[in-house]
Amino acid sequence: MIWQQLQSLAGSYPLALRGLGMTVMLSLISLVLGTALGFGLGILRTGGNRLISSVIGAWVDLIRGTPFLVQIFLIFFILPEFGIELGAFTAGIIALTNLAACFICEIVAAGIRSVPTGQVEAALASGLSRWQRMRQVVLPQAMRIVLPPLVGQYVLLIKDSSVVSAIGLTDLTRVGWLVVQRVPNGLLVFFLVGVGYFIVCYPLIMLARRLERRMGQAHGEVQL
């Protein structure tokens, strides 16, 4: 019985690899895009324009205050009603990127706010432009505060990506659902799915811990 199941599982190996590939792909693309967008939003959020800052703040609150499953359904099922047709993959990328950007925005904004005003004043006084102040003085110091929670957030987002299986993307979680129909051993199947996520996340967890430790030694800037 169990032997048969294992054999059948082994037969699902290509499907599992595809699912793992999809999960990694989705996570990677949306984390890269979400990080870029999140840094942009975080910089704008602290940029001094009240209107821009509060619009971003409201959006971030909205996204953080609603279930990701609901967001992904809205993007995938509701947008087509307004004539915007999206493939499941694109919808998944958009939803995950947006989620990542919102969390990262707040992390980056907190990092920027932690840099003492005297630093900005010194940069201002020496004639550095807004972007130069950000690039040369503020961000390198903010990274100390930003990096550990940023990497931690990556782990959460990779796990959140499992929600895209709900709109039919064959990621690791959905592969679990498919396989369990042929191999009726949910415990074993989803144990293996969990192992798949863990293999992707564990290096990041280690990295976050390592970064946290290095904070104390750096001269205000973190080298990986």
Binding site: P116, G118, Q119, E121, A122, A123, L124, A125, S126, G127, L128, S129, Q132, Q136, V137, P140, Q141, A218, H219, G220, E221
Partner: protein
């Protein structure tokens, strides 16, 4: 004292400047002109508006009314490029504000490289020379956290000098320092003054004022109460408030 017929413009020219923080009138009708190469010391009790006064000059604070003309340019005028003007004005902070993630040399060369667009090698050579000039030739590659307060403040002064400014502003540059480090910073400031820099220095260091200042300005409650040569101000203060202030700082 002034010749109203000739509206001569100083390097720094306050004309009836007022500033409020909310309901608080922190600068009251300030009129003050600082000539090129002049060294003016500003003193007064805590909260009298000394920092605010010099922070207006490079636009770290903005003024409500009156005119403030710096190096021939009126602040707040749309034609005045504030970022460009700031490159001509060095500002030394009480708390140094060195960039903690950059070495002493990188602190000094950052603005010359990125703002003045000086080639890196050239900026680094000039930076080394400046650090040597303030007595820190051996600390070129040290991070601020590896330097004493006095050393950090000397790096901060070198950082300003690296931009070859026309004006240097100092906001209590020695009051965060242990007593034994004060003179090493003052010596550097004296050297800068003797090279003909236009300077406004908020300080209670009377020895420094006597040595290099042409003028001492005494502020109280946002207004300039008295202004005169160091000699006159320290030996014969004219107002009760300045006498009270001097008796307090002299006791130290």
């Amino acid at each position: 004292m002034s010749t109203p017929s000739q509206a001569k413009t100083g390097m720094i020219d306050f004309r009836g400047v007022n500033k409020w923080f909310g309901p608080l009138n922190v600068l009251k009708d300030i009129t003050l002109s600082v000539e090129p190469r002049e060294v003016v010391v500003v003193c007064g009790p805590s909260g009298s508006g000394k920092s605010t006064l010099i922070r207006c000059i490079n636009g770290l604070e903005t003024i409500k009314d009156g005119d403030l003309i710096v190096d021939g340019q009126r602040l707040g005028d749309p034609a005045t490029n504030m970022t460009l003007l700031r490159t001509e004005i060095g500002f030394v902070f009480q708390s140094f504000n060195l960039y903690p993630h950059k070495t002493a040399l990188e602190n000094v060369t950052l603005a010359p490289i990125h703002v003045r667009k000086i080639p890196r090698a050239e900026a680094e050579q000039a930076g080394r020379d400046l650090l040597a000039k303030v007595g820190l030739a051996d600390k070129v590659n040290a991070y601020p956290s590896q330097l004493s307060g006095g050393q950090q403040q000397r790096v901060a002064i070198a950082r300003c000098l690296g931009m070859r400014p026309k004006i240097m502003l100092f906001d209590e540059p020695t009051s965060a320092l242990d007593p034994e480090m004060i003179s090493e910073v003052l010596d550097v400031m004296v050297a800068v003054a003797e090279e003909g820099m236009t300077m406004m220095v908020v300080t209670h260091e009377m020895g420094f004022a006597r040595k290099v200042a042409q003028r001492v300005v005494f502020m109280d409650a946002g207004a300039i109460v008295e202004s005169g040569t160091p000699e006159a101000f320290f030996s014969a203060p004219k107002t009760d408030r300045s006498r009270a202030f001097l008796s307090k700082i002299l006791r130290h």
